[in-house]
């Protein structure tokens, strides 16, 4: 027995030693997301190492895992992360409030749309560089539109009429996310177009008349002309239906376009899929245009100089152009004007992006630390509205109650009333 114990102790301590043996070279640690741009960086990192002489230790993680890992490492103040990919709207507010982002004072941000930068900066110096943007669009089936004699809708009234006309026993007129919290981002543009907002100057306001009207409209559309069981559907469930030809129109983020028209993934001929701006509402036409991914330097980093070198390389125009060529909708504006790049990008994407960059709203969800909880609250309204086809007598009262709860969340984190 003693022998076994002794030998395990020796074994363990020798393993510890070997782990600490190499520590003091020029290296940085980078956390990437499982995202096409993360893949692109991974493939290009050897070039960067050669040019700069900096060794890059990278890990690539699924987005939820990435957030958990970053939170654990930063919260315990013992992180060795230097640079990391980050989701500004989902975790940005919390990370920034906790002081986990290094302010970026020397970078040039003139190449990014203004509305995008308003989130990346939050009043003070920018704390992340936007990598990828996405915006809300209307995907539709050209062939079904033609067969039914329907024009591409430009307003919400036309959208509802088209959904009604295209709806049949085998094909749903329209689909959009109906699964509570997941639907909140896609509902946002509807709320904006009706003249409402989720949060205004740090106060929840989605119980306003326009916002409630938008939630009713969304519920009526999906409840009357949506696929069966839409209240349990997010994009993972709707995309396959759309690809299988069971849905005539789908409003969601532009990021799915590449997969929809990929012949290896779709049963409908790619030529039958169209993409258009989200129709205008009674008050506005302001689809969301959000930074889904950015990249930042960790405040705790001990190698900031090297980290900034990596950051500048990872956000360079050259790599952004490469990203565009691999179907990633990059945040930089200049690559959207580069004729060489545009040759290989779908014109529908270019047009809808130009529209959203001009008119878009940079938020697609309540921008606060407790995003997840707030999304759950608003999600319940979405489900109530869909289940009653927008007719619910309770909706206004429910919205008021939920606003109270979200305001409590804002108060808990000291964000209430803060612009």
């Amino acid at each position: 027995m003693k022998k076994i114990l002794a030998s395990t102790v020796v074994l363990m301590s020798s393993l510890c030693l070997s782990a600490t043996a190499f520590a003091q070279t020029k290296e940085i640690r980078v956390l990437l997301a499982n995202h096409p741009y993360g893949e692109l960086l991974k493939a290009a990192i050897p070039d960067f190492e050669k040019q700069s002489g900096i060794k890059v230790n990278f890990e690539s993680l699924q987005e939820g895992q990435l957030t958990t890992k970053l939170t654990t490492e930063f919260a315990t103040k013992s992180s060795s992360v230097d640079v990391f990919m980050t989701r500004p709207l989902q975790e940005g507010k919390m990370f920034n409030r906790n002081g986990w982002y290094e302010p970026l004072t020397t970078q040039d941000f003139s190449d990014y749309p203004k509305n995008v930068m308003s989130v990346a900066a939050a009043g003070s110096a920018p704390f992340l560089v936007p990598l990828v943007t996405e915006w809300q669009v209307l995907y539709y089936r050209k062939d079904l539109f033609q067969a039914a004699g329907v024009e591409v809708p430009k307003t919400f009234t036309e959208l509802e009429a088209a959904a009604k006309k295209l709806n049949s026993d085998t094909v749903a007129g329209i689909a959009s996310r109906g699964k509570g919290a997941a639907a909140v981002t896609q509902l946002s543009s509807y709320v904006y177009n009706f003249g409402g907002q989720y949060i205004d100057k740090g106060v929840a306001v989605f119980d306003s008349a326009p916002a409630v009207e938008a939630i009713r409209y969304y519920g009526k559309l999906l409840g009357s002309y949506g696929p069966k069981g839409v209240t349990s559907m997010s994009w993972e469930n709707i995309m396959p239906l759309f690809q299988a030809g069971k849905v005539a129109m789908w409003t969601d983020a532009s990021v799915f376009y590449g997969q929809i028209v990929d012949p290896a993934k779709t049963q409908v001929p790619a030529a039958n899929f169209g993409i258009a701006n989200l129709p205008a509402g009674p008050k506005a036409s302001s689809p969301f245009l959000v930074t889904s991914w950015g990249i930042a330097v960790a405040k705790q980093s001990k190698n900031k100089e090297l980290a900034f070198k990596f950051l500048d390389w990872a956000t360079s125009k050259e790599l952004a152009a490469k990203g565009m060529l691999s179907n990633i909708t990059m945040a930089r504006s200049s690559v959207w004007k580069d004729p060489k790049v545009l040759e290989s990008v779908n014109p529908g994407l270019v047009a809808t992006r130009a529209y959203a960059a001009e008119n878009g709203n940079p938020l697609d969800r309540p921008y606060m630390s407790a995003v997840g909880e707030a999304r759950d609250q608003i999600g319940e309204l979405v489900i109530e509205s869909i289940n009653t086809k927008g007719e619910s007598a309770n909706l206004a009262a429910m919205a008021k109650d939920k606003v109270g709860r979200v305001n409590d969340l804002l108060k808990d984190s000291g964000e209430y009333g803060q612009p």
Partner: protein
């Protein structure tokens, strides 16, 4: 009487078939999806007849280096279970023979407490000691999973072995340690196999500790499955094939040792 019996028999089989269908359905779905292309997976209505492809498995073992993750999971699980046996068997013996109820409860607490409460401490310890991305950190954290299982199963098992056996050995001059080593352990095969199987599977499936304590070098299988889940895109075929590959060892292990596991779990159950 006879008729009644036959009816009962038929009913029994109907229930058995029904339950197995419910239990096996997700598994069969996963298995069939792992041989489908992305288009076939999302096809509606679902395709029961399709031309199978091996491309998903090629991705799992080719593009993604699942062999490495297999080795990682095996090393971590194997060492965690092995060390847990070294510490847990004598502990279980002591708990059983000297009726250390409180100690046993205390050990069980480690199993009852949600794993997440250990996460931060583990991370702080590992990063301060420079143990991140090493087997040491993973093995130690996985012992937290394996050790309570070993102790609990084995103390119940030791309870079922008559004390008289050791007593007679000790009358003949053997020390307690020798009696434990030479008499009790050789009789405990089924119990040990049960403890090993269960604790290995729990370690094999563990997600939380591996997620935070491992990086590229020591990534384990449950974390690696997520390599197929990208932003706004899920490679279902890859996920399914990886899931099949991960489940296979656990299923094979359980099938081989099933007889022992059932025996080991119920051993000591009838003894007050």
């Amino acid at each position: 009487m006879n008729k009644n019996n036959r009816l009962q028999n038929a009913l029994f089989y109907v229930v058995v078939v029904f339950i197995s269908l419910v239990v096996l359905f997700p598994f069969l779905w996963m298995l069939s999806s792992s041989f489908k292309t992305q288009t076939d997976i999302i096809a509606w209505p679902p395709k029961l007849i399709f031309s199978p492809t091996l491309q998903n498995y090629a991705k799992v073992f080719g593009e993604q280096d699942f062999l490495k993750y297999f080795i990682n999971s095996t090393v971590v699980g194997g060492l965690a279970v092995g060390l847990s046996l070294v510490i847990g068997l004598p502990a279980a013996y002591a708990i059983s023979r000297f009726t250390q109820r409180r100690l046993a409860l205390f050990i069980l607490l480690a199993r009852l407490m949600p794993g997440i409460s250990f996460l931060m401490p583990w991370y702080i310890i590992a990063s301060r000691l420079d143990l991140m991305d090493t087997y040491v950190a993973l093995v130690l954290s996985h012992m937290l999973i394996a050790l309570p299982i070993v102790v609990w199963i084995m103390s119940a098992y030791f309870n079922s072995i008559p004390v008289e056996l050791e007593e007679s050995a000790m009358v003949d001059g053997a020390t307690r340690q020798y009696a434990f080593w030479a008499i009790i352990l050789p009789m405990s095969g089924p119990g040990i196999i049960t403890a090993v199987t269960l604790s290995f599977i729990f370690s094999w499936n563990n997600f939380m500790f591996s997620q935070v304590l491992s990086m590229e070098k020591t990534k384990t299988l449950p974390i690696a499955v997520y390599n197929f889940v990208s932003y706004a895109e899920v490679d279902w075929g890859g996920v399914m094939a990886a899931a099949v590959a991960i489940m296979a060892p656990a299923i094979i292990l359980t099938m081989i040792f099933q007889k022992f596991v059932v025996k080991g779990l119920t051993m000591g159950a009838v003894k007050g």
